[in-house]
Symmetry: C4
Subunit: 241 residues, 4 copies
Amino acid sequence: MTVDELCYEIALANRMLDQEGVLDAFGHVSARHPTDPNRYLLSRSRAPGVVEASDILEYTLDSEPVSPPTVPLYSERVIHGEIYKARPDVMAVCHHHSPAFMPLVITGTDYVPVFHLGAIGGVKPPFWDQHDEFGDTNLLVAVPAEGASLARALGKHWMVLMNRHGVTVAGNSVRDCVFRCIYSHFNADYQVRAAAYGKVDPLTAGEAEKGFGISKGTTGQSRAWEYWTARLDSVGRLPAK
Amino acid sequence: MTVDELCYEIALANRMLDQEGVLDAFGHVSARHPTDPNRYLLSRSRAPGVVEASDILEYTLDSEPVSPPTVPLYSERVIHGEIYKARPDVMAVCHHHSPAFMPLVITGTDYVPVFHLGAIGGVKPPFWDQHDEFGDTNLLVAVPAEGASLARALGKHWMVLMNRHGVTVAGNSVRDCVFRCIYSHFNADYQVRAAAYGKVDPLTAGEAEKGFGISKGTTGQSRAWEYWTARLDSVGRLPAK
Amino acid sequence: MTVDELCYEIALANRMLDQEGVLDAFGHVSARHPTDPNRYLLSRSRAPGVVEASDILEYTLDSEPVSPPTVPLYSERVIHGEIYKARPDVMAVCHHHSPAFMPLVITGTDYVPVFHLGAIGGVKPPFWDQHDEFGDTNLLVAVPAEGASLARALGKHWMVLMNRHGVTVAGNSVRDCVFRCIYSHFNADYQVRAAAYGKVDPLTAGEAEKGFGISKGTTGQSRAWEYWTARLDSVGRLPAK
Amino acid sequence: MTVDELCYEIALANRMLDQEGVLDAFGHVSARHPTDPNRYLLSRSRAPGVVEASDILEYTLDSEPVSPPTVPLYSERVIHGEIYKARPDVMAVCHHHSPAFMPLVITGTDYVPVFHLGAIGGVKPPFWDQHDEFGDTNLLVAVPAEGASLARALGKHWMVLMNRHGVTVAGNSVRDCVFRCIYSHFNADYQVRAAAYGKVDPLTAGEAEKGFGISKGTTGQSRAWEYWTARLDSVGRLPAK
C-alpha cells in the first residue's frame, strides 16, 4: 500500500468509526508509515467524521510533526507515538470514547468477552488509571510520559481501558484495528445491558482464546469492511478521492 | 415463485433485517429451493445489508455448493443445511445476533412472549449451548455435527437461542421468517427492558398459543413486508433489479 | 376542514407517529367524520408509515365500512368505533404499541407524569386487561364487545393502557391526539429510565392538573406539528398531495 | 460579529442541538446582543430544528420584544432575560429537556462529571425546584419572578438543573454554550447508564476543575463546531443563508 492509499484508508477508518458510533467529535485513528517504521500517519486536529486523506500528517515516534505544522494538531497524539515506539508489531491505533464502553470505564469494571466476536477485544484487556501515576490532571494524555505509561499498561495486549476517559485499541492493520474497535464496542454494550438483566455467563477461557482468532481465520474482516464502506457511501459521507 | 424471484426475495430479506437492526455485518437468510427440496439458496459470504440477488448460490443439504465456488462462502452455512435436512416443513432460515436478544443469550435466560406479536417467537423456544456437546470452540457453527446438534435442539419449534452467540429462526416462507425475526427481536427488547423496570407479567399459555397464530389469521405479514420494503426504498437500499 | 383535508391530516398523523417511533408496522390513527358525527375515517389495512390520503375509508360507529370494501381492513378498527360511540367529545383516536410504553404495559405499572409535558397523558390514565373480561384471547381487540370494554375503561380519560398489548389515545382533534401520543411516549420513556436510576419524584397532583392544560394554553401544539411535518419532509416521506 | 451573523449562528445552534438530540419540538437558544448588552436575540415561537436567522427577534432584558410582535413568542423567554440581567458575563443561554438529563431531574439527583469532557458542565451545578418558591405551577418558567429565581439558583455556575422539567445552560459565546450542552448531555447519559451497571467512580475534585478548562485550552470547541455543522449539512438541514 502506498502512502496515499494508506492516508485514504485512515480517512475512511475515521469516518467509519464515526458512522458506527464509536467516535464522535473526538478520538482519532492512525497508522504506522508503510515504509518507515519510525514514522506514523495521523490527521490534523479534526473531528474523525470529516477527516480527508489530505488532512493526514506524518509524525516521528516522539509525536513531532515531520514538517512544520500550519494547522492545529491533536493534543493526544502521544498515545499513538508511544504505542508505536513500544510495540513494533502494532500497525494502527485508535483512541476513542465509545458510549458503550463508558459504563465500564466509569465504574472501573473489566471488559469481559460475552459473545464470540467480543473475544476480538482480548481475554482480559488491561485497565489504566492516569491518576495512579500522574495525580489530578484534565485526563487528556497530552505529554510523552503519559503516553508511555499508557503504552506500558497496554503491554502485549490489543486494547486498554482508560479510567474515567475512554479506550485505546491497536491492530496489525487499519482494518484489523477498526474491526476490533467495532466488535469490542458491541461486546461492551452487550456486557453492560446483560448485567442489568441477569447474571452474565461469559465465554470460557478456551472459547475466548479460540474466539480471538476469528478475524484471522475467516473472511469476516473484509466482509465487514465492505459493509461499513457501503453504509458511509449510502449517506454520501465517503472521503474525497 | 421462480428461482430468480426467490433469489431477489432472499436479498430483500437480508437487507430488511439489516435495516431493522436484526442483522449487522454478520448473519444470513436462506430459503429452500422452490422446486428441489434437497437444495437451498444462500448468499456468498457478504454482509446481509449489501447482498444482491446475483450473490445467491445453490447448496446441497450437506451445505456443499452445487457449482464449484469462485468466491468465499459463509463458514456457518451448515446451520441452514442441517435445519432443512431435519425439518421438511421449514422453507426459510435466518441466523442472527440481534442486539435485543444478546442480554438473553448472554445470561442464559429463556425467551418469554410479553406482548401479542411476541408470541410469534413461540411459547417457549429452546436454548442451545454449543459447549455442552463440543466443549471449547470459537462458537461458530462451522461443521455439520454442530449444525445437526442445533437442528436437534430446534426440534419442532421455529426459533432457537444459542448461548453466548445469537439466535436461529425458521419460517414456512421467507416472509414468515422475516416477520418472526423482527417481532421476536421487539419482544426480546421489551422483555429485557421490562425486567429492569418491574415484575414481568407475560402472556398466559392460552394467550401465547392464540397469539402464535396471528401471522396466519391476519393480513399483518403482508402489511409489514410492504412497510419494510418502503423503508429500504426510502434510503435507496433496495437490491438491484 | 373538508373530508379531503381531514384525510390528508390523518395520513400525515400516521406517518408522523411512525417517524417519531410511536407506531411501527402496526397501529393506526383515525378521526371522526367532520360533518357526520356517526361516521369515522380510518385507513385500509396498511402500515401507518406508508398510508396515503387515498387509503382512508369511511366507517359507521359499528365499524362497518360505508362502501363495500375491495381491500383488507384493520382487524382492530372496533377500538375506534366504540370510543367514538361512547365519547361524543373525542374527535381522533390512535392505537399504538410504543416501545417506550411496553415496560409499563408488560409489568402492569401505572403511567405517572414525571415532567411538565407528560401531564398531557393525564394525571392517572386507566389500565385495561382484556383477560379480565374475555379470558385467553390473541389480545387483538377485534370484536365490538372488546372495543366497548376498552371504551368503558377509557371512561372520561384521554389515554388507556392495555395489559401485554399497547396503548389507546384520544384527542379533541388529530393534532391534539398526535401531541398527546408523542409527549406521553416521551414521559413513559423517562418514567422507565428514571426508575432504573433512582426514586422517581413525580409531578404533584396540582402540577399534573395544571400541566394537563399546557397544550390548550400555549402555541406548543402547532409548533410541534410544524416540526414533525418538517422532519417527515426532510426524509421525503410526506403523504402524496 | 454583526447582528446578522449572530442571528445565523443562533439559528445554526438551535438546529445543531436538535440534530444532536438535546432539543426536540421545545427548548431554545439565545445570545446577548453583540453591541447592546441590555438586549438579547431569540427566535419567535418555533421548534429549534426549523429556526431560521430571519426568525430571530430582539428583546429587552425584561423579555419584552423591542418591536411589536406579529408572531407568537416563546412563553419561557424570561429564562433568558433574567439570566442576562443577573450575569453580565453570560453571552448565550440554552434551555432544554435533553432525554439524557431526564432521569436526573426526575429523581432529584445531582449531575456529577464522570469523564473528562463532562467536567465542562461544572463540578457541581445547582438544582432548582420551581415548587419551593412558587408551589403548584404547570412548571413553565413563564413570569419574570420565576426566571429571576432560576437565575439566582444558577448563581455563578454555567448550568442549572430544573426539577421535573429540564436544564438551563449558559456560555460565554453561542459556541461555548452549545459545546457545554452537548458534552453535559453525554455526561448525563453516561452517569445514568453507569449507575445502572455499577458503582460510579467520578472525577476527583482536582480532575473536574482541570477538566472544566478543556474547552479553553484546546482546539476542541472549533473542532466540534465544524463537525456538528457538517452533520446538519449532510442531511440538508442547515439554516437558509
